[in-house]
């Protein structure tokens, strides 16, 4: 029974999650570009590589913008969170060994201790975001149930992963929960607010182009 569930989570479900993720990403971006072609031609006319990159770069460097300096704690947490949430799963030794076992592919990985710290950072950052949502009136006003659900969705593979990695009680079940929650998260990205992962370069780039090319002003 455990073997069946495990091989399902380790095999077909991974494929499914990655296919939904990649397919969803391609679908969302093509649909968006198609819609823009139809109704927002202006976007293509004003998109400007230089100004788009200028803006994207400024928003990807911590503390490069005025608002980032105004919220130093949020900036720090947000950058550590985004770095960790992307890098930890990609460069985790255990994940790479699974890929190695399946496809004989491997790449550089993080020392386990670093990965542990980064995972803890993700979970702590989720806690921080939750506190912001609860305690800051303006953020609380904007918060919907879906925002809390997404926070939980993001945190769960990291919590369960950390739990499983340290073999705390309930190992097999937690391990499988880790695999499942990771797969759900991956598949959910294109169809939730997590889509900002793909849309960021477009929205930022377009605004950077408008500010740089038309308005001759900074947008950070």
């Amino acid at each position: 029974m455990i073997h069946d569930i495990y091989s399902l989570l380790r095999g077909p479900m991974v494929w499914l999650a990655f296919c939904i993720f990649a397919g969803g990403m391609v679908f969302r971006i093509t649909a968006m570009v198609g819609l823009a072609r139809q109704k927002d031609r202006v976007v293509f006319d004003y998109m400007n590589t230089r100004y788009a990159l200028r803006s994207i770069l400024h928003w990807m460097v911590p503390f490069a913008g005025v608002n980032m300096r105004k919220h130093p704690v949020m900036t720090l947490v947000a950058f550590v969170f985004h770095l960790s949430v992307l890098a930890t799963p990609l460069f985790l030794c255990a994940h790479i060994l699974l890929v190695k076992a399946s496809w004989n592919l491997s790449w550089w990985f993080l020392p386990d201790g670093v990965a542990d710290v980064m995972t803890a950072c993700v979970v702590a950052a989720c806690g921080f975001f939750l506190c912001r949502r609860m305690l800051l009136p303006d953020v609380r006003y904007l918060t919907t149930a879906s925002d809390l659900f997404l926070l939980a969705l993001v945190a769960s593979p990291f919590i369960s992963g950390f739990w499983a990695c340290h073999q705390w009680p309930g190992y097999p079940v937690v391990m499988m929960a880790h695999m499942l929650s990771g797969e759900i998260l991956l598949a959910a990205i294109p169809f939730t607010r997590l889509i900002h992962m793909f849309f960021f370069p477009f929205t930022r780039g377009y605004m950077g182009s408008e500010f740089g090319g038309v308005r001759h002003a900074k947008d950070w």
Partner: protein, 443 residues
């Protein structure tokens, strides 16, 4: 989850909104909204709405939020949530009461100043979203009365202030006469074909501030410019229709403006110190006409004056001797990056310049722009109380010694004037043109 207790929204009676809403029913609203969403709601609307992470990092960009005790309802994302967010969630099935509130938010609680765009990590254009709401209100016939009146004036006369053709010509002649008392031989050349400069102003200049035309004529004369103004409609570069959501009219207005300049075979349009007009000519109206940029160069007064000083066409007789500060208007700073040029002119003409903080792209809005001041008396009190943060900013710069505020934008003038009066700041506001007129050698 439970929301924090909501403070009741203060009610401001506006006939345009009230009467417009009375004509609506739930059934009449939905098809209109769905039609707009289907025909005009494109990728930008969708992507902006789906990308917003509800992080609240835009809140502190907004003077409405900062001035209303940080009430979440006034944060940019909060306003989006209450208006277009709700419209999309309900797929257009909203009540007349909802439209009334949405109209008030979109028209009087957002100046489309785009400060929040610089504070959003994704660069979500809240001004675009609020304008989308205004578009819906316009199509539903729910628009504040005063600004709708200016839109009607635009439609009937192609200018904002119901100025008739003969009144326009009379005003120019009047100002020319006055100026010739000071400088004999000065002309305000009307309909001069082939002139290099087509000088255009906004409707309120001939209506209320004719001395600005006088000053501009003096500057043009002293600098030896080859310029003209038209004797036909098309002289007004302003555009309130852009702010009421009447984009068809916006296109018509800009077409008339550009075509008048072209009819006179002028090389470029120089416009007076107005922010929204520059936005409409440089950024918005040209797009509705299918032009990526203006069909002929459009130069804002700031840039024009800068060039005159740079090229030594104007010389300063005596520098302005009181300390001055500069209010950076959104539409020529976030909208055109003219802030350093404005400072150049000030350094040329004034003894002492004191920066207000924040400044340049990050300056706080005057709370008059974006058509908010044009919504008229019903909202004046709300407009000044919703910008206490501007009053604080001005107080701080006054404490440093600056009693004169230079604001190179008509709307900013109006807005700051009301703020100065309400908060009893005892400061004076000037255009760059006022200072230049006062300081330059005229003979």
């Amino acid at each position: 989850m439970t929301k924090p207790p909501a403070k009741a929204r203060p009610h401001f009676a506006d006939e345009g909104i009230e009467k417009g809403v009375q004509k609506l029913t739930g059934e009449s609203i939905t098809p209109v909204i769905r039609d707009i969403l289907k025909t005009e709601g494109g990728a930008r609307l969708k992507v902006y709405m789906e990308t917003c992470a509800h992080c609240g990092l835009c809140s502190e960009a907004c003077h409405h939020y900062l001035s209303n005790d940080r009430d979440p309802k006034y944060s940019p994302a909060g306003k989006v949530r209450q208006t277009i967010g709700e419209i999309l969630r309900k797929k257009g099935a909203v009540s007349p009461g909802f439209i009334k509130t949405a109209c008030e938010i979109a028209f009087t609680e957002c100046n489309l100043c785009r400060r929040c765009v610089m504070y959003c990590p994704f660069g979500i254009d809240v001004a675009y979203l609020m304008l989308f709401v205004r578009r819906i209100c316009h199509r539903l016939g729910v628009v504040p009365q005063y600004i709708q009146d200016t839109a009607h004036s635009h439609a009937a006369t192609l200018n904002q202030m119901w100025v008739k053709e003969d009144e326009w010509i009379d005003t120019l002649h009047w100002q020319e006469d006055e100026a010739r008392e000071e400088i004999p031989g000065l002309r305000i050349p009307l309909e001069k074909e082939g002139a290099e400069i087509f000088y255009s102003v906004i409707g309120p200049e001939p209506k209320f501030r004719a001395q600005l035309i006088y000053q501009a004529a003096v500057i043009m004369h002293v600098a030896g410019m080859n310029w003209t103004m038209p004797a036909t409609p098309g002289w007004d570069n302003s555009d309130m229709c852009m702010y009421t959501g009447d984009f068809e009219m916006t296109a018509r207005l800009k077409k008339a403006h550009f075509e008048t300049a072209m009819r006179l075979k002028t090389k470029r349009i120089v416009m007076g110190e107005c922010g929204h007009a520059f936005r409409s000519v440089h950024d918005v109206g040209n797009r509705f006409l299918g032009w990526k940029t203006e069909p002929l160069p459009v130069v804002h007064a700031i840039q024009f004056y800068y060039e005159l000083f740079r090229d030594k066409k104007l010389t300063v007789k005596q520098k302005f001797d009181q300390p001055v500060t500069l209010h950076d208007p959104c539409n020529v700073v976030r909208g055109a990056g003219l802030h350093e040029l404005a400072r150049y002119i000030i350094h040329e003409t004034c003894d002492r310049f004191i920066e207000m903080h924040p400044n340049r792209e990050h300056n706080y809005c005057c709370n008059a722009g974006g058509g908010v001041i044009n919504c008229g008396p019903p909202f004046t009190k709300k407009r000044v109380t919703s910008n206490s943060v501007k009053a604080e900013q001005l107080k701080a710069v006054k404490a440093k010694g600056a009693n004169i505020i230079i604001a190179p934008c008509h709307n900013c003038h109006g807005g700051l004037e009301d703020i100065i009066k309400h908060y009893d700041l005892g400061m004076e506001i000037k255009f760059l043109g006022d200072i230049i007129y006062e300081c330059i050698k005229k003979t």
